[in-house]
Subunit: 193 residues, 2 copies
Amino acid sequence: MATRTTQILEAAARLIARRGVRGLRVEELATEAGVSTGLIYYHFKDRTGILRHTLEFINDRAERYTTGRAADAEPLAPRAELEEILLLELQDTPEVRENSAAWGELRASAVFDQVLREDLARATLVWGQEVAALLGHVQPMAPAPALAAAGERLTALLEGLSMRWLSGGLDLGHARDLTRGAIDAELARLQGK
Amino acid sequence: MATRTTQILEAAARLIARRGVRGLRVEELATEAGVSTGLIYYHFKDRTGILRHTLEFINDRAERYTTGRAADAEPLAPRAELEEILLLELQDTPEVRENSAAWGELRASAVFDQVLREDLARATLVWGQEVAALLGHVQPMAPAPALAAAGERLTALLEGLSMRWLSGGLDLGHARDLTRGAIDAELARLQGK
DNA sequence: GTCTATATAAGGATAGAC
DNA sequence: GTCTATCCTTATATAGAC
């Protein structure tokens, strides 16, 4: 299953996590993937093509590990499930690091590049809604708009914490504690209203 | 007071807000500033020098508008002051846009560039502590660690919201509402404990 | 499909005149 | 201090053999 193109995409993901989207050099990618630059252009047309496919590839992987709860596992309590989903983004594994780094790059690039915005906005929306739905399981009486806002805040916070973690200013364990605290805070607010 | 070097730095700030740190071209900067590339190298040595000085310049400006409350203005209630400080970062003025964009670029660059991390960590820490202190005025009975955590969360959230705003996925008014809601949530949590 | 070799362009940086 | 002209390196991209 490790076809040549996925081999290149995996290398690209590693390299983007290491050097950033804008630090990706095609020749370096060729070396990392163990192929020639010519082959890369043959498969992906140009630099932009590499980037597009890699980000797509990364997005697919992220969905897999976000959704990836074994079918035979016992179902979690709503609050625990919410926590688990959010904390999945704060793990020190190569896969999560790569995905988070790539996501941060995508976000940062979109500030200056119109083209990336649409995908990003869609993915952001979906993610916020997922979290809002989970919050709704914990607090079934809370009004929908309040849940939606809390979902947006928790996901935005997670992006902020991820960036601080990846940029070296925040210890992972602390980031996870802060995330749990944010869940508490949002639930306290939903209850108080 | 508009010396040649500040003229160049102002142009650089504009350009970074438009193209990003990594999209900054020295020749484009020369055009934007209305000078020659030679002059830029004369003053700033090399591309890195331009970047360093520009980020410093931008940081100084940010402190001015964060601290910039007229001495004759009536003092605000603690909660209002907290809100004001946070919302200063979410305004649609060229200055705030430039500063936020530059800050986001700095953060994103630091993921891949060791050199920038130290400054960033220090500034982040100070900011979080300021917010924690303001929270302490609102909730004098809250324990210090809880205040510190809330300060970290609010500032991290603000970074996340800023990026969403700048990357086009989030309306400014909504970002401000979400910020107010986050303050409510944190205060609710501090009270509940 | 894959490689080697190379064309072409972009951007950073310097020299030297004024 | 400032400009013009130019060099040199780095990267993207293509051509053509296998």
